[in-house]
Symmetry: C2
């Protein structure tokens, strides 16, 4: 497997993504954009890109902030994430730049794109779906679900799969209900899985070491949700 | 594959189940109890038992009413289901009789039991889980989720998987929320999947022909939920 740093632009911001793919074949294959947690592009999202590459996809882990910046703690992450999330147009543009880069790669079948994301990355994936991006599907893992620009009927192309912890203090039940209502109103193809005994960051083995209340790794939910994602990809790329 | 009618008792009620299994092997294997919709044991649940047998399980489709009775329409089904559901102890006993029969069969590994159910059958599966039956897992497809005897902490042995239609008029959002709260309070292992654009009886190709509002087959949700169930069985029987 080949991995490389890949540079792309969002206006005057230079972003440093991480690309993973099988270099033993040159055939075009589905491309998966992976957006990381609010801490920036680190090992967690890169490892998921590696795992997607091992499944036969070409995966780009995107850089949310520029220059591959990684926050050292939650306050710093919030300092960067806050202004970005504030304006949904700007926010969507940041992820769209990554998706365009991925779609432009010679190994990628641009008609077979999907996106996954963790925490803020899950929010990115929902926002690109709402924006009508040419995605076959998106998967949000413990992502924030609310938006200032709700989905419009007929605009969303992506099938939606949301995996959320029932005890996630950052994604309360009212937010889940609101998403379901929004997506039903917009007539999208959606599924929401609520996992009992599960809080925020359930896919990230480093979550516990942050010491942040409401964040914890959950191996069982991680395994289950990843399996559902692979089934979902088998469906949308069949 | 072998199928046969199998007779068992709940007090003085004689029940006629339908057993499906691979008769080319005599080795013990996990047993799956399948409980049907409120219309009684018909082709839908029998076919699911056949599919489970093809996956290597031994499946018993249970008879909810006795003598293999099948209702000719909804009013008749309600006439039979109503009194049965009214008393949760009696209701649980009816499914427990089927589970005990299944567990007693020589081909069944009684330490590896699970249960699935459709509509009222889903309710049966949740009620047996609440009752502390020796099940590794239960799957409810468009089942009613409410109960007069909520789960108690430490009593539920089964892992819970609920597949429900977001637009199911018989399983409104408040019922889904109440189940999540009940199961969290009892400390069970649970997952709830809500499927957009999906109403009641989404697994049953005959649903549309009943003409009952709020019932409709949904091939995509049927396929997705069955796949999740097979993954779930792979997990609990690993």
């Amino acid at each position: 497997m080949m991995t490389e740093t890949i540079t792309y632009q969002d206006g005057d911001v230079t972003l440093q993504g991480y690309l993973a793919f099988d270099d033993q074949t040159t055939s075009k294959r589905p491309g998966i954009l992976v957006m990381p947690e609010a801490f920036g592009l680190g090992d967690h999202a890169k490892q998921r890109a590696n795992r997607l590459a091992a499944l036969g996809y070409i995966a780009l882990a995107g850089d949310p902030y520029g220059d591959g910046f990684q926050a050292k703690d939650l306050p710093e992450a919030m300092k960067y994430a806050g202004p970005l999330r504030e304006d949904p147009v700007k926010f969507r543009k940041r992820a769209r730049a990554a998706l365009d880069k991925l779609a432009s790669l010679p190994q990628v079948d641009a008609n077979r794109l999907a996106m996954i994301g963790f925490c803020m990355g899950g929010t990115f994936s929902l926002e690109l779906a709402r924006d009508g991006a040419p995605l076959r599907g998106i998967v949000s893992f413990h992502g924030g679900l609310d938006t200032k620009l709700p989905a419009e009927a007929g605009k969303v192309k992506a099938k939606i799969l949301v995996c959320t912890g029932a005890d996630d203090p950052f994604v309360p039940p009212a937010q889940v209900t609101a998403l379901a209502e929004e997506m039903t109103k917009a007539g999208t193809d959606w599924q929401i899985i609520s996992y009992g005994g599960t809080v925020h960051s359930f896919t990230n083995p480093e979550a516990d070491s942050t010491g942040i209340p409401g964040l914890a790794y959950n191996q069982q939910t991680d395994t289950r949700s990843w399996k559902v994602m692979t089934d979902f990809f088998n469906e949308i790329f069949a």
